[in-house]
């Protein structure tokens, strides 16, 4: 495998990782602040993608579609939080898993009911299609590069918000001691709704961005949800920094594993056997990574002490 191809695969891995971060950031904030496992996060991703595909179909504007994904996912997030999630904060993890599993069933089938079983398509706009010439003579998809850029900007904004703004201070305080900040006069239930809406909007935005390179269909959220869980567990649940490192690790491991393992095995095995062993191992690689991290650091890379 040539060095250029390797760099291109690394960029793909980076793009995948950055998108995973958008999903994982919301999940880890919601867990860190409210102590809630939200399996329905993948449904918010799907809602964002459907809203974007629908608006793009109506207006033809990609930017309006992205805006619609943010608004639709945030509104859905607020509704879900007010109606259901709010009752789950004091419950144990089992109840949270089951109630949000029920939400997945309702939201997925509801979406299928409204939009039908056929996938929708979201086209990349003209000004983002084609390729760009990077240094070293690499031709790389303009849209994927834009995804990396957008993801990194959002990540930077999120870090700045958490560390610099008053809202960020409240979020961090909420992670440390809920009773205390309630006693200090912060409207804790409004804060919870806001954090949930923020996480939902990030997930919806990621759904819309990915929707333009894959098809928009019911059930698109769950594979990403599971990967986002792998990310936050590797990073340490509740840590935004951990989510970022975990997302890049998972994105690169998965993409490079699929690209390199079959070739690597071919150096000492028959080609047919090498490609099947390599492909099997590559598809398991991130779960092996996660199990390995948890076995040596049971609370993730950036998790607190046990």
């Amino acid at each position: 495998m040539s060095a250029l191809l390797l760099i291109e695969q690394a960029l793909n891995g980076l793009q995948f990782g950055v998108m995973l971060f958008l999903m994982a950031a919301g999940l880890t904030l919601i867990f860190g602040v409210m102590g809630l496992i939200n399996l329905a996060h993948g449904s918010l991703y799907m809602i964002g993608a459907f809203a974007a595909a629908w608006v793009a179909g109506m207006t033809g504007s990609f930017m309006l579609a992205l805006g619609a994904s943010l608004i639709a996912a945030a509104v859905a997030g607020v509704l879900i939080e007010l109606l259901v999630i709010r009752r789950l904060y004091d419950r144990d993890h089992l109840d949270q898993v089951l109630a949000t599993f029920a939400l997945i069933l309702i939201l997925s089938e509801g979406t299928r009911w409204v939009f039908g079983s056929f996938p929708l398509y979201l086209d990349t706009p003209d000004w983002l299609s084609g390729t760009v010439r990077l240094p070293l003579g690499i031709d790389y998809s303009r849209y994927r590069l834009a995804m990396i850029g957008a993801g990194l900007i959002i990540a930077a904004a999120l870090f700045a918000m958490i560390s610099k703004t008053r809202l960020g201070i409240r979020i961090r305080a909420g992670e440390n001691d809920r009773e205390m900040i309630a006693a200090l006069g912060v409207n804790i239930s409004a804060l919870y709704t806001l954090v949930f809406a923020l996480g939902a909007a990030l997930a919806g935005f990621a759904g819309a961005l990915i929707g333009a390179v894959q098809s928009v269909q019911v059930g698109m959220g769950e594979p990403v949800l599971i990967l986002a869980f792998v990310v936050i567990v590797i990073g340490g649940i509740g840590s935004i920094k951990g989510a970022f490192v975990g997302a890049l690790l998972v994105g690169l491991t998965d993409t490079l594993g699929r690209a390199l393992l079959p070739t690597a095995f071919a150096t000492f095995m028959e080609p047919a056997a090498a490609s099947s062993v390599g492909a099997s191992l590559a598809s398991m690689a991130i779960y092996i990574l996660m199990a390995g991290v948890l076995i040596f650091r049971p609370r993730g890379l950036f998790g607190g002490a046990a």
């Binding site: 779960y287 948890l294 076995i295």
Partner: protein, 327 residues
């Protein structure tokens, strides 16, 4: 007899009499439907040992369900193609004999549960939920990408496996086999729950520190419970594969883990017969609601949400009142 005992008896009687009635009126589909409920009930009873008695929220029991299924699939596949399963270090032939398949499925799932449990139980809480999910996803992707046994398409077995002189292709005879196994598993689980081990496990669930203080390691109790739980779910997987004469990676999927969990919750966590009620209710809903609307998962989701939010303790909690032993 308490109300719970009455409910147990009524439940098992209905599960026996309904297919007999269907047999008398020549409705083989309803017999197969009940058989499905009985097999899934075994998976639920298995998970309940970890989830209900031990408080271990495993989101990866599809792993054991799938292993049981593939144990059946691989053994029967080699028997029907007359090829050995392995040549080295010794020749292992495939088999079409149900008891052998059950034994292999239970042993393999139990062994894997022992290994997965030994690693996973180092973590607690959300991390435990997620690492069990990760292990089942590992096997799911492995099953999809490993081409030897059908990969993503799965593996079809032409004739159901045999059980001493019975014609297992006859729905009522296969039902009888599954029903007797369910009864056996329930008897074992009820004995387990009242054994010194079961009581100690319940104590560890409620207060680990006190259990440690009287000189027992909770880790060992949890690991044994997780192993037994995985082995029983594996047995159910082998039966489920035999029912459909088909195995596919879907058995390993996380939705399967979720569904097995739903049986336990709908019926009642921590009750020996709870998952049986849950699985029967699930199949009933699937049949009735699925006939009413293509989108029956919406109603299932709403029902599950209602159970979690408002009717903790599931069906058993509603009818038989709060359990004495479960908090």
């Amino acid at each position: 007899m308490t109300r719970e005992h009455l409910l147990n008896t009524a439940l098992m009687a209905v599960l026996l009499l309904f297919p007999l009635w269907a047999w008398a009126t020549d409705e083989p589909f309803l017999i197969t439907l009940t058989t499905r409920a009985v097999i899934l009930a075994i998976a639920g009873v298995g998970l309940n040992i970890a989830l209900g008695f031990g408080g271990l929220v495993s989101f990866g029991h599809a792993l054991f369900f799938g292993l049981g299924g593939y144990a059946m699939g691989i053994l029967a596949y080699h028997a029907q193609t007359y090829t050995p399963v392995a040549d080295w270090p010794m020749t292992i032939e495939g088999t079409k004999s149900m008891p052998v398949i059950w034994l292999v499925a239970t042993l393999v799932s139990g062994l894997v549960a022992l290994g997965v449990g030994a690693l996973s139980l180092r973590t607690t809480g959300v991390y435990f939920i997620m690492i069990t999910l990760a292990f089942s996803q590992m096997f799911y992707y492995f099953a999809i990408s490993w081409p030897a046994y059908g990969g993503e398409d799965g593996l079809s077995i032409y004739v159901r496996n045999g059980f001493f002189g019975l014609n297992t292709m006859d729905p009522i005879q296969f039902f009888a086999v599954c029903y007797v196994l369910l009864a056996g598993v329930l008897f074992f689980t009820a004995r387990l729950a009242r054994s010194p081990f079961g009581l100690m496990l319940g104590a560890a669930r409620q207060n680990e520190t006190r259990v440690e203080a009287v000189g027992t390691r909770p880790y060992r109790l949890y690991l044994i419970a997780f192993t037994i739980s995985g082995a029983i779910t594996g047995l159910s997987g082998a039966l489920f594969a035999d029912l459909n004469r088909f195995v596919s990676p879907v058995m390993f999927s996380w939705q399967t883990s979720g569904e097995i969990m739903v049986f336990v919750i709908l019926g009642g966590v921590g009750r020996v017969f709870g998952p049986v009620a849950g699985a029967a209710l699930f199949i009933l809903l699937e049949h009735v609601l699925g006939g009413l609307s293509e989108y029956w998962h919406i109603y299932l989701g709403a029902l599950l949400l209602g159970t979690v939010l408002f009717a903790r303790g599931g069906l058993y909690g509603m009818i038989a009142g709060r359990a004495a032993a479960h908090d």
